[in-house]
Symmetry: C2
Subunit: 360 residues, 2 copies
C-alpha cells in the first residue's frame, strides 16, 4: 500500500482515484485553485460535478490550501491538471518537494516556443526548482482512457512512459487492476507526441460531420465514415512523421497512444463537438465564443500552443510541410480563423512521409 | 472514355458504376447467377434493393446470360463479387477472355489451404485459364469505401494496388472523380492483407459492445470506447505483424488500407452486428442461425477461411502465436464456437511484435 497524492480534481484526476483506492492505496485528492467547488462537493456527497460514478469513500479530498498537509509522506504524485496548468503545478508543488517523490503526469500536450516543440513532461521538469530538477523521476500516461469509463471500472488499457524502467514498473503496479490494463514504454517521445497530437487530429475528424451536414450530403441519414476514416488514416501518417522527426519510435503511433487514443477521441467529446461546428461553416472564434466559451477544447488549445512554431519550423525547412497537410489545415482554421477546406490533393503524398502510396 | 465491365451487382459493384459513369465511361453491369433480381430491378426502376442512391441511367444492366455480349470490346473489368465468388468468377469469365483485358478486384480476402495463406488476387490468377494466367494484368482496391457512401458521391479515399505501376495509373485515372480520391501502391501484400484482416478484427471490436451490455457495465449509457480503442490498437499491431510476416510493408497498415479501412468497418454494418451478438454471450453458430442466417459476415467468413491454416502455421512454428492473441481469440469464437474472453494479458506483449511496449 502506497500513499498517493493526486493533484487536480478534474475528471481524469478524480477518475484515477478509483483504481488507486481499489488497490487499497491511501489516496489524497487535492483540487487546484479552480477546483474548490469540486472538492467541496466530493467532501459533502462523494459525487463529482462531471463524473457519474461515486468518488470512493476512502479518498481524502483537500482544497489547494491543504496541499502541504496532503503531501506529507506521499510516495507518488499524479498530476491531473489540464495541459494549461503545468507551469502552475510546478509553482505550487515545486517549493514543497525535495525531488525524491516521483511524479506521474496524466496531462498531455506539446508546447511551442516559436523555435521548437517541447513535450509536456519536459516543460514540467524545466519549471521545477533547480535544486532537484534533474533528479526528479517523471513518468507519464498515454492511451485511450476516457475518465468517465475508468471511473465506472470499464476495461481500459494504457501505456506508462518514462526513461526509468524501474519507475515505470513501480507505477504500473500501483495503478494496475483487473479492469485497468497497463503496459510500459521507455519511448517517451513516441508516446507523448502521439497522445498530444491526437486531440488536434480528432478535431479534424470531427469537422467531417459538420462539413457533410452543411453540404446536405448527409440528408439520407448515413454517417460519413469513408471520409472520417481517410482523415483518421492521414492523421496517423502525420503523427508518425512528427514522432519520427522528434526522435521517437513510430511503434507507439500505431498502438495504444496513437491509434488507440485517436480512436477513442474521435468517438465523442469536446473536440468532436467543436469540429462539427467548424465543419458546418462557423469560424473558430465565433464557434468558441458562441457555443463553447467555457469549455477547454484540447485540440484547439494544442493548435494554438504549437501553431506558430509549426509554421516557423516549416518556413525554416526544419519540418517538411508536405508531410503535414492536415495539421497545417487545422492550424489555419484554429489560429487564423480560416474556413474548413480538406486538402485531398496533398494527403498521402509526401516523399518524406513514412507512408508512400503514390497519388498518381 | 473507356468501355468498362463490372461483374457483380452487389452494393460495391453497383456503387462503382457511379464514379465510372460520372467519368463518362460506357459501363456494363453484369449480375452474377445470384443477382438476377437485382439486374431486373435496375432495368425496371434504376434502383438497387440495398443501395439508396439511383443507379445511373447510362449503366447497361445485364443478367449473367448476357456476360459474353457485355464483354465485347471492354477495356477494363471490375470484379464486384464477394470473397466467396472468386473461383466462380474465374470459371465464368475465364473462357471468355484472352488475357489482354486488365482486371480490377473490388473483392477482399485471404484463403488458407492448411499450409499457407494466399491473397485473393493470387487465388483469382491461379483459377484463370493457363493460356493467359501469367500475363493478365491484375489490380485490386483497398481502403475505406462503404458502398452506400460512394454511390451517394460522398468523399471517399482508396488505394489501388498491383505490381504494374502503369496499370495502376490507368485504373486510377478511370476511377478518380472530385469525390473519389485515389492513390496507388505496388505493395500488394501490405494492402491486401490489411483490407482482408480488417473484417475479422472489426468483429472483435464489435464484441466489446455486446460484452459490456451483458455485464451490465453499459447501464449508464456511455459507449465503451476505451476498450474498443484498445482492441482497435491491438488489431493494428497484429495486422502489422502478419503483413510483415508475409513480406509486405507496414506503411499500408497505418494508412487507408489498414487503419482507415478498419476504422470505417468498426462504425457499423454486419461485422459489428455479429460482434455484438457474440459479445452478448451468444455462440457463433446460434447467432448466425438465429439472427443473421442470410447475411454474409465478412469477418466470420475470413475466420472460417483462414482459421485452420493460422492454427496449423502457429503449431508448426511458422507464425508466432504470441503475436496474434486477438486473431486466435476470434478464430476460437467463430470456428470452435468458443465464448468471448478478451486475453488482455497477451495483448501488446509479443517479443516479435513490431510494437514493443512492455507489459511489466
Amino acid at each position: 500500500m502506497a500513499k498517493v497524492l493526486v493533484l487536480g480534481a478534474g475528471m481524469m484526476g478524480t477518475a484515477m482515484t478509483v483504481p488507486l483506492t481499489d488497490n487499497e492505496h491511501d489516496v489524497h485528492l487535492v483540487g487546484t485553485h479552480l477546483d474548490g467547488h469540486i472538492i467541496e462537493e466530493i467532501h459533502e456527497s462523494r459525487t463529482h460535478p462531471k463524473l457519474r460514478s461515486a468518488v470512493p469513500v476512502s479518498v481524502k479530498p483537500y482544497p489547494i490550501a491543504g496541499l502541504e498537509e496532503a503531501l506529507r509522506g506521499v510516495d507518488l504524485i499524479f498530476l491531473g491538471v489540464n495541459s494549461l496548468g503545468v507551469e502552475w503545478v510546478a509553482e505550487a508543488l515545486g517549493p514543497l518537494l525535495t525531488g525524491d517523490v516521483p511524479i506521474v503526469a496524466l496531462t498531455k500536450g506539446l508546447v511551442g516556443d516559436g523555435q521548437k516543440l517541447t513535450l509536456l513532461p519536459h516543460v514540467l521538469r524545466n519549471a521545477l526548482p533547480s535544486s532537484y530538477r534533474e533528479e526528479v523521476r517523471l513518468a507519464a500516461v498515454g492511451g485511450p482512457s476516457i475518465a468517465g469509463e475508468l471511473a465506472a471500472r470499464r476495461p481500459t488499457g494504457i501505456v506508462i512512459t518514462g526513461s526509468d524502467q524501474t519507475l515505470l514498473d513501480e507505477v504500473a503496479s500501483v495503478m494496475r487492476t483487473s479492469y485497468y490494463h497497463i503496459w510500459t514504454s521507455t519511448d517517451v517521445i513516441g508516446v507523448e507526441v502521439s497522445v498530444a497530437l491526437k486531440n488536434v487530429y480528432a478535431l479534424a475528424v470531427g469537422m467531417v460531420q459538420g462539413w457533410m451536414e452543411r453540404d446536405g450530403i448527409d440528408e439520407e441519414g448515413d454517417v460519413m465514415h469513408n471520409m472520417a476514416a481517410a482523415i483518421f488514416a492521414q492523421a496517423l501518417c502525420e503523427i508518425a512523421y512528427l514522432v519520427d522527426y522528434m526522435g521517437g519510435e513510430v511503434e507507439n503511433v500505431y498502438g495504444l497512444p496513437g491509434a488507440g487514443d485517436l480512436y477513442v477521441t474521435c468517438m465523442g467529446g469536446r473536440n468532436m463537438r467543436m469540429g462539427r461546428l467548424l465543419g458546418s461553416g462557423m469560424r473558430y472564434e465565433e464557434a468558441k465564443a458562441r457555443h463553447m466559451a467555457d469549455d477547454t477544447i484540447e485540440g484547439a488549445e494544442l493548435a494554438l500552443a504549437i501553431g506558430d512554431t509549426i509554421e516557423a519550423m516549416i518556413e525554416r525547412g526544419d519540418l517538411e510541410g508536405a508531410s503535414l497537410p492536415l495539421l497545417r489545415t487545422v492550424i489555419d482554421i484554429v489560429c487564423h480563423d480560416a474556413p474548413v477546406v480538406f486538402p485531398w490533393d496533398r494527403f498521402f503524398t509526401s516523399e518524406t512521409s513514412l507512408h508512400p502510396p503514390k497519388r498518381s
